[in-house]
Each structure stands twice: as structure tokens, then as C-alpha cells.
């Protein structure tokens, strides 16, 4: 039973990683990355690593996307500022 879950999660993580690399829009890519972090957390959980799950859940789905979004916002504002 657990092996089936593990296999499903491995496939989903691979698909998620592909989706992140295929995204063209930067903001959409960050949101996909956040979802990918969630998938990765569930994968770690199915492999019985709750400590790594909690780390990935917070770093991968909250903190890292947040930092990237802030950076993107800053860059965009800089671009707008030059156009004006």
C-alpha cells in the first residue's frame, strides 16, 4: 500500500519539476514552485521522514516563494521606473 503511494508521489514530483521548468511567466513559475514544494513534502512524508516534511513544507512552500516573489516585484518596479 505504502509502496503505491510512494510510486505515485515520485511520479507527481517528477511531473511537478517538469511543470516548474516549463513555466514561462515568472510569477506563475513561483506559484508552481510552491506547489512543487508541497508535493515534495508529501513525498518525504510517504517515505516516513516527518522532520524533513516539516522543513520542506515551510521553506519550500512559504519562505522561498515569498523571497522570489519579492525579488520579482522589485525587478518589475525597476523596469517600470525606467520606462517612465
Amino acid at each position: 500500500m505504502i509502496e503505491i503511494l510512494q510510486a505515485v508521489m515520485l511520479v507527481m514530483v517528477a511531473a511537478g519539476a517538469l511543470a516548474v521548468t516549463r513555466a514561462r511567466d515568472r510569477v506563475r513559475q513561483v506559484l508552481l514552485l510552491s506547489g512543487y514544494g508541497l508535493l515534495l513534502a508529501i513525498l518525504f512524508f510517504t517515505f516516513q521522514a516527518p522532520d524533513v516534511t516539516l522543513s520542506e513544507l515551510t521553506v519550500g512552500t512559504v519562505v522561498l516563494p515569498m523571497i522570489l516573489l519579492l525579488a520579482i516585484f522589485k525587478v518589475r518596479r525597476g523596469e517600470r521606473g525606467r520606462e517612465e
Binding site: 516527518p50 522532520d51 516539516l54 522543513s55 515551510t58 519562505v63 523571497i67 516585484f73 522589485k74
Partner: protein
């Protein structure tokens, strides 16, 4: 290089990589098999030796506590380095925080859940950081969870509240106490004539009780402080760059 040559090079390289990869996978131990001697020993002895039922924490803060000190100072150095790199430069000016252009339009569908989840997130964070001896996580996870609670406030569009709750001086102090506390626990053991980071606090009589584990919950608490302060400082630096600091 013509597209055709590129394709040939790619095909040859890809075939080589695939062959090496297949060779490596064929030599791996079977799925779920752990060949090392260390894991079974820890699993067998950890609860008896440390009286901590969170064996992951026992490994992180006891058996390989010295590694964890190093890891903690990596984060400390990263946060310190970031605040140096993102300092306000001479040709940059800070816009007033009440400036309308800094107001991000945050829809209620984001604000309300963010504010509702802030309290529970703080609670879970403290629980994780202060109960490392009985749950499978510890200071790192708890600390980030605490930082996430502040990030939720930030997401609700309250950058000023976020900054008021986490003034830089307070963050610096908490971060220093967290990182220093861990190192000092190790030094206390040295002063008592024990190896660095040896567990010198009584382990408690009942494994799994909140008071068990000796130095494990103490170290976890300090790690939680350090990690929470470091991550809030990192997000705060990025937020300030984005919302307040502008090139003149």
C-alpha cells in the same frame, strides 16, 4: 556549430550519461534496504541513552550536535551577509511607509485566511520548537513555522505591522541569543570537564515526558529562536528593498 552537429553531440553525450546512470542504478542496494551499521544502533539505543522519544531530535542535538552547531552558524552567517548586501546605499532613499504607492491591493480572500492562520501557526511553531524531545522535528522546523506566522501578517498587506512586530534591533538580539545559547550549552559541558555539547542536564526519569532529554529541548529552543529571527530578518530585508527603498 550547426544544429546538426549539436544534435549529434547531444545524442552521444546523452547516450553516455544514460549508460552511466543505468550502471549506477544497477549497483544500488535494494529499495528500502539500509546497509549501514549506524542506523540500527541508534534506533536500538537512542531512547535508553537520551530519554528522548523524538529520535530524530536526539540525533540532531545529541549524537551529531556538533554538526548542528555548524549548520546553525551557516544560517546565522547567511542572514548577516544578506543584511550587509541589502543595506541602503548612498544613492538610495527610503520612501515614506505611508506612501500610497507602497500599498499593495490585498484582496480580502487573502487577508482573512492569512490573519486567521497567524495565531495557530505561532502555536504550532512554539510547540515544535519546545518539544523536540517528544516530536520528530525540533528547533529548525519550529523556528521557520514562527517566521511563517510573521510572513502571514506580511501577506495580509501589513508590512508596517510586520516591521513593528519585528524591529531590527530585537531580531538581531534574538538571533544572537539563539546562536550563542547553543554554543554556550556546549561550553558549559566543557567547563564541567565533559566533552563539548555533552548532555549534562538530568535526563528525566520517564522517556517521552516533557522534562526528559536533558540538553535536547534546551538546544532545540535556542535553535528555534535563531532560525525564527534569521528567517524574519531575511524576509524583512527583502520586503524593505521592495517596498521602501528606491533609487533616487
Amino acid at each position: 556549430m550547426s544544429p546538426r552537429q549539436r544534435l549529434v553531440l547531444f545524442t552521444v553525450a546523452m547516450a553516455g550519461l544514460a549508460a552511466c546512470f543505468a550502471w549506477a542504478v544497477a549497483g544500488l542496494p535494494g529499495f528500502g534496504n539500509y546497509p549501514g551499521p549506524y542506523g540500527p544502533v541508534i534506533l536500538h539505543d537512542a531512547v535508553g541513552q537520551t530519554h528522548a522519544t523524538g529520535v530524530v531530535s536526539a540525533v540532531n542535538f545529541e549524537y551529531r550536535g556538533f554538526d548542528t552547531v555548524g549548520e546553525e552558524f551557516i544560517l546565522f552567517a547567511a542572514a548577516a551577509g544578506l543584511s550587509v548586501v541589502l543595506r541602503r546605499l548612498r544613492d538610495e532613499r527610503e520612501s515614506r511607509p505611508v506612501d500610497n504607492s507602497n500599498r499593495l491591493p490585498v484582496p480580502d480572500s487573502v487577508r482573512v485566511p492569512a490573519l486567521i492562520f497567524t495565531g495557530p501557526t505561532v502555536l504550532i511553531g512554539w510547540w515544535l520548537a519546545s518539544h523536540a524531545q517528544t516530536n520528530p522535528s525540533g528547533g529548525f522546523q519550529g523556528g521557520i513555522m514562527l517566521a511563517s506566522a510573521l510572513i502571514l501578517i506580511y501577506l495580509a498587506g501589513e508590512f508596517i505591522a510586520f516591521r513593528r512586530l519585528s524591529p531590527v534591533a530585537l531580531l538581531d538580539a534574538v538571533e544572537a541569543v539563539g546562536a550563542g545559547g547553543f554554543a554556550v550549552i556546549g561550553l558549559i559541558a566543557l567547563a564541567m570537564g565533559l566533552p563539548y555539547l555533552d548532555n549534562f542536564v538530568p535526563l528525566g526519569t520517564i522517556p517521552g515526558a516533557v522534562s526528559s532529554g536533558g540538553t535536547i529541548p534546551l538546544i532545540s529552543f535556542f535553535v528555534g529562536l535563531e532560525v525564527a529571527a534569521a528567517f524574519v530578518a531575511i524576509i524583512g530585508e527583502f520586503g524593505e528593498q521592495t517596498l521602501l527603498v528606491r533609487r533616487s
